[in-house]
């Protein structure tokens, strides 16, 4: 239904999984939790919440009003929780520059009291499978040097991701404490 890349849809579902929140709170929470990502524009938050509500993944939980304008509070539905769980477990196609996507999944997994380790192990397996294909390609005695160099480049980037995953596995307890899950 939704693409596997970091999507505002899944990030908002992840932030709603612990408790209902209104749009402004979601934007603030996103910008604090994911400082490396671009700040979420308000317009995008409300447009996404509208789509999520239309698709039955969130529902309006009530309204709040303090000194400012009235705010609509949203809650995740069972269908929404299911879509989030599916996305969190899905491994990414091994390609360069996945750091943001992987990190988002890990933080959201911990925030929603899931274990991030099965995802990391599955992603590791997907990366290593791709590395095996590239290794076989460059080990072919007839492979032109240009192909060998291109395979080397891709392999080294995948290796960097794998090392990051290993380091992250060792930091999961600290990260869990920090996200307050």
């Amino acid at each position: 239904m939704y693409s596997c890349a970091v999507s505002t849809v899944h990030v908002l579902l992840g932030l709603l999984a612990s408790r209902p929140r209104h749009g402004y709170e979601l934007k603030r929470e996103h910008d604090t939790r994911f400082p490396a990502a671009k700040p979420l524009p308000y317009g995008q938050v409300y447009a996404t919440l509208g789509r999520l509500e239309r698709d039955g993944l969130v529902l309006v939980d009530g309204t709040e009003q303090d000194s400012g304008p009235e705010r609509t509070r949203y809650a995740i539905t069972e269908r929404g929780a299911h879509a989030l769980g599916r996305w969190l477990a899905q491994v990414e196609e091994p390609a360069p520059y996945l750091g943001g996507t992987m990190q988002t999944k890990i933080v959201l997994a911990l925030l929603t009291r899931r274990s991030a380790e099965p995802y990391l192990r599955a992603q590791r397996e997907a990366h290593l499978t791709r590395m095996r294909e590239l290794t076989a390609r460059k080990s072919d005695p007839g492979a032109p040097m240009a192909d060998v160099l291109a395979a080397d480049y891709a392999i080294l980037h995948l290796d960097a991701d794998l090392r990051w995953m290993e380091t992250t596995m060792n930091r999961l307890n600290d990260l869990r404490a920090e996200v307050g899950a």
Binding site: R121, E125, R132, T135
Partner: protein
């Protein structure tokens, strides 16, 4: 390894501790004939301990290790030494060559220990040195060779008995990337050509990517039940 294949090497829920340190916590693996499997994982995850248990060098505290269907963890020291000599080749990070002997004599050593004739053993050793591209080192002692040459000689020595299983612990650990890949390519080529099963420990993902499958260890446990049953993914 597919479900109908009989594993050549199998470990069932093995545990091993060194004093207060629990190195393996119920690891199960099954490796089929002719497979190339990498045992990977962070430092201290139990990689070498698992290799040593599979190769009959260490005995696990509990669980079973089988080779060709026969339990080897219950064999005594002499029986395990014989098994290793006849069926296994073992290769370590720093070669483990005898410093007083020339390269050809080092390579011939496993054959001499298995009571083959001296001339036959030396001829086989020279032919292996040639295959591994270090024929010119035959008369040199380990102290007179480079790290890359030493490791090629060590590969020749591990393969000279045509073992059914070759166990390698960080075989390229002492080499730079290009030399390491060259040695590994030779090792894989030779192992595949003679149908030997290869089990190698490495912390290097790029080396692991040369294998058909992976057993990923973390804190003495294999990756998952699936990963634990077989090092090789379909």
């Amino acid at each position: 390894m597919s479900a109908q294949d009989q594993p050549l090497i199998e470990a069932r829920t093995i545990e091993k501790a060194f004093r207060a340190t629990q190195a393996l916590r119920g690891v199960s693996v099954a490796i089929g004939p002719g497979e190339v499997v990498a045992i990977t994982g962070p430092s201290g995850s139990g990689k070498s301990t698992l290799l040593h248990c599979l190769a009959g060098i260490l005995r696990p505290d509990s669980g079973e290790v089988r080779y060709a269907g026969r339990r080897i963890d219950t064999l005594d020291e002499t029986e395990r030494t014989l098994l290793r000599r006849e069926h296994f080749g073992i290769l370590f990070q720093f070669g483990g060559l005898v410093p007083e002997l020339a390269a050809a004599e080092n390579v011939a050593l496993p054959l001499l220990l298995a009571r083959h004739g001296r001339e036959e053993s030396m001829t086989a050793a020279r032919s292996w040195l040639e295959r591994l591209g270090v024929a010119e080192c035959a008369g040199l002692r380990p102290g007179e060779m480079s790290a890359g040459q030493l490791q090629r000689v060590a590969v020749a020595r591990a393969l000279v008995t045509r073992p059914r299983v070759l166990f390698a612990d960080e075989p390229t650990g002492a080499l730079d990337t290009v030399s390491g890949e060259e040695v590994l390519a030779l090792l894989l080529y030779a192992a595949r050509e003679q149908g030997s099963t290869l089990v190698l420990v490495t912390h290097d993902n790029q080396i692991a990517a040369y294998a058909d499958g992976e057993i990923f260890l973390r804190d003495g446990r294999a990756a998952s039940e699936e990963g634990a049953r077989s090092g090789v993914r379909p």
